[in-house]
Symmetry: C2
Subunit: 366 residues, 2 copies
């Protein structure tokens, strides 16, 4: 199968094999060396000197940890949303009693920094801003993230960034952009199976945590930091996924961050060009299309559910459908992580075959 | 290495290999079939018709989920403790604002059902009881769990059981014993790498959840149940660990629950006999020694830290030290999951060699 979804992404065979190594004691010296090495590697990819904690959980658990460690019940927060995953922060905020102001942009668009500035001027009590760097549900990158960080800080706000489907594939230099809390997840550009989330925390965020009243236990980042100092995790870690991560980081650092970013840019362009040449329309607005996942409008007269089903069953290629209100209206073509020209080419051919099979005719072709 | 700790336990090579299979879409038909199959298998091992949810988290996350789904802030709860993991429920209860009554038994002892009855009579406002089935930190099994369940229900209490290091190795028939909420974890008798927790929920517990005011999101069992109905999980699952679990369940069901339980009983007896024959003393009181992990008093004049270090470095065997107040006073010999006579024999020989190396002389030997 050609797994062309925006995560979990294909795991290279050698990474998967590394995960099958003999089990070790999570309280012993081998694990201490392992977590020290992976933490250094993850920090390199985050381009940060901040603390980075690795949690045994999915990306959503990483998001929960970013919220419960920094937001007390009753705290006013601004949540900038451009799709389903932005709205996940809204759900989280509501569940944990934050006073949520949602600044929603149309699905397909990116966030406008000027409107964030406006929203923060309008309510100076807000001291926390949430934003999605790359919105997996719509194939949009908030390309103005550095400017958003500048604005958040000018209002004395902490900025919490969901970079789950961006960081490790497209540039997200945490220190250079001065991002306070950043979340990523193993099953995206990291080429590792799902189950680990990474959360970076700077001094501004640690300071906030010391005052934060929100109850937290499993997702408590202070416990994670204290345990890490002795080469451990507070709770039994997903050891086999650390084995995979260790190997995958070796591949990533050998390829180099710049090359990885350039490759993702190239794969994304190739995908978009191929899709346009089939006469299909991209969902994301021009200039903010994601370099990790391309959202495509399901053409008139074609059933979105049929499209992904036929592609999978007859063309060996797995695309993702639309989520929430986008179900049936778009499908998504993932091109992040362990992806090369051949994978994209094969994905485009599968798409063409599927459309043909469903009776769609590319304009200008026989 | 002979990994003789009470988890993570050795993963059979074929299970580890199963985890290296090609990645799949967690929202597709393959995963739906997989989670249906593993859920059925896990239910068989739990010996229950109740719902069982699989969460991507460690055992402690499973414990958190058991608490936050059933206990609101301000709720009075009775927490029965016989060791470190019982006290983890106390920590959790305190963090999440429960009004905690701890009924603590001496480390090394099991819980006395009569005293639980007394405690519940003394405070009829208590409607939730927490108990550890098998206390990993002390090598004690609360053998009176069925009686504890009867008492809890006679006081109209919900019973929440940490069976992380028991269920799958020693009998814990959830339906027969009428246990309301039961937690287990993949890295114990299940022979799977760490990262999955299992939580069974009966009708009494679902009813409680519908009234429960505690905020919860990642660990929300109602979301997990709703997603399971369409063959999914609410958040991206640790797919590679499901692959492992699927294979391990095949091995377990082929061996049969009765055989698995008998094997663990045999391994435990062999361990205890061997340890006594070295002139060492067990930490657990007679009659309540765990069949999954044996806690052993560090003999006078021997340094506990040295013991585990020498065993690992010179005899290729990993024992666990004592936790919390038991650090340096005991060490622990795990015999759960994928364990056979040879493993125990080798562990005992390593122990004998280590003691000899540290200058300990077995009474009556040259």
């Amino acid at each position: 199968m050609n797994l062309r979804i925006p995560g979990p992404t294909p795991v290279p065979a050698e990474v998967a094999q590394a995960g099958a190594a003999e089990m070790i004691n999570h309280r012993g010296p081998e694990f201490a060396a392992l977590i020290k090495r992976t933490t250094e590697g993850v920090k390199t990819v985050f381009q940060t000197q901040n603390d980075v904690l690795t949690l045994t959980t999915s990306g959503s658990g990483g998001m929960e940890s970013a919220l419960v460690n920094h937001v007390s019940a009753g705290d006013p927060v601004l949540i900038v949303t451009v799709g389903v995953f932005g709205k996940r922060f809204v759900d989280l905020g509501n569940v944990y009693g934050a006073r949520v102001t949602e600044l929603a942009f149309d699905f397909g668009s990116a966030a406008d920094p000027a409107r964030i500035d406006e929203a923060l001027r309008a309510d100076p009590s807000i001291k926390t801003v949430f934003v999605t760097h790359n919105e997996t549900s719509t194939g949009v990158t908030n390309v103005d993230l550095p400017e958003i960080a500048r604005i958040a800080h000018s209002h004395d706000c902490l900025l919490i960034v969901d970079a789950i489907s961006s960081l490790s594939s497209i540039p997200c230099p945490v220190d250079e952009w001065d991002l306070d809390v950043v979340v990523s997840g193993s099953q995206k550009g990291w080429m590792v199976a799902p189950g680990l989330a990474f959360v970076s925390v700077n001094e501004r965020a640690w300071e906030r945590q010391r005052q934060n009243q929100q109850p937290r236990f499993y997702f408590d980042l202070q416990r994670a930091k204290a345990a890490l100092e002795s080469g451990q995790t507070p709770w039994t870690p997903a050891v086999s996924l650390y084995f995979q991560l260790d190997h995958a980081l070796g591949l990533m650092l050998a390829e180099g961050l710049d090359s990885i970013h350039a490759r993702h840019k190239r794969m994304a362009r190739m995908t978009r060009d191929g899709i346009r040449s089939l006469g299909l329309e991209l969902f994301a607005s021009e200039g903010v299309e994601s370099d990790t996942v391309t959202a495509v409008k399901v053409p008139e007269g074609i059933d979105g559910g049929q499209l992904t089903k036929v592609a999978r069953e007859e063309f060996g290629t797995v695309f993702a459908g639309g989520q929430g209100e986008l179900r049936g209206k778009i499908f998504r073509f993932g091109h992040l992580g362990w992806v090369r020209e051949d994978d994209v080419q094969q994905g485009l051919q599968a798409l063409e075959g599927t459309l043909d099979r469903l009776g769609y005719r590319v304009a200008g072709r026989a």
